[in-house]
Amino acid sequence: MTQRGRLTSILAVVLACGIGGLLLWSFPERSAGGSLAVARVGVLVSSTGASNAVCSIVVGSRLFDTLFEILVYSVAVLGVRITLQGGGAEGSALTPSAMHELAESDVVCRSAYLLFPPVTLLGIYLAVFGHVSPGGGFSGGAVIASGLLLVAVAVGAQAVARRFHERMLERIEWGAVAVIFAIAAVSFLDGVLPRAGLFPAGNPGELIGSRTLLVYNLLIAIKVFLGGWVIIHFFIEHRGEI
C-alpha cells in the first residue's frame, strides 16, 4: 500500500470512529412501548382487520411504497437476467459428466428432496397467515426460494432448472406483479366506485376478512420466490455449479 493510501485509510478509520462516537453520544433517550405505538397499532388493526400491525402497514397504509419496492426488485431481477442471459463465463459451461461429478452424495440429495416439501409448506404458511401471525409475503417467498436453493445445491441447479419451463415462470412472475398493481389500482378507487374496496375489514385474528392483505401476501410470495430463483439460477449457470 502506498503512503497516500495508508494515510487515506487512517483518515477513514478516524472519521468512521468519530461519526460512530457522535452517533452514540447524541442518541436520544426514548421511552419504549409508548402510547403512540399502542394507538398506532390500534388504528392499523381496526382499519385493515389484520392483527399483524407490520403487515397492515406494508400492504395497507404503505401499499404504494411496497408496490414500488416490488418494482425495484423486479427491475433488479430483470437486470440480472439480461446481463447474464446466454453469456456464460468462458469455460464455465459444464459437461454432463462434470455436473455428475459435482453433484452431492445420495444422502445429501435425498435429504434435500425430503426437506423441500416441509420448507415450501412453511413458506406458504408464512405467506397465508402473514397478516395474523409473524410472517408475510416477502418472508414466505424467501423461505420457498431458500428451499429450492437447498435442492439446487444438492442435485445441481441445471437439474432443477430442467424441471421448470423458464418462459412460463417469467410469465407467472410478471403476471403476479401485474395483478398486484391491478388490485392496488382498484382499491385506490375505494369510495369513488361502489365495491372498489373489494373485501371489507373483518375481526382481527381471522384468516379471511382482512381486506386484500391475504391476496397481496400470496402474490408477493410468488413474485419473491420466482425472482429469487431467477437470481440463484442465473448466478449458478453463469459461474458453474456451486
Binding site: S9, G33, A37, V38, A53, V54, E90, F138
Partner: protein, 118 residues
Amino acid sequence: MPPAGVVVAIALLVIGVCALVIRRDLVFKLLALGMVNSSTILLLISLDSRRSTTAPIVPPSAMAAVVDPLPQALVLAAIVINFAILALALVFVMVLAERYHTTDAGRIERAVAQEDER
C-alpha cells in the same frame, strides 16, 4: 446509555464503513456494504424495542406494551432493496472480473485508464 442493539449497530456501521474504504477487493466492498445495511436494519429494530415490550401483533386479550410497528415495516423495504442492489452489484463485479481478470478496484481503474489512453 443507548440499548445494546444500538451500540452493536453503530459498531457494525463503523467496521463496515472502514472496510468499504480500506479494502480494494470489490467483493469485500460489497460485503462491507451489506454490513452497513445490516447495521441500519439493526439500528431501526433496536430503536424502540425493550425487554418489556412485545411484537406488534394484537393478542386476543390486550395490547399492553407493544413495539412501534413503523420501523419494522421500513426495515422490510431496506432488506428487499439491499438484496436487489447486492444482486445487481455482484453481476457487475462478475462482468468486470471477466473483462479485466481481477476484482481489485485499483487494478481495474488502471486497466480502464490504459484503455482510454489507447
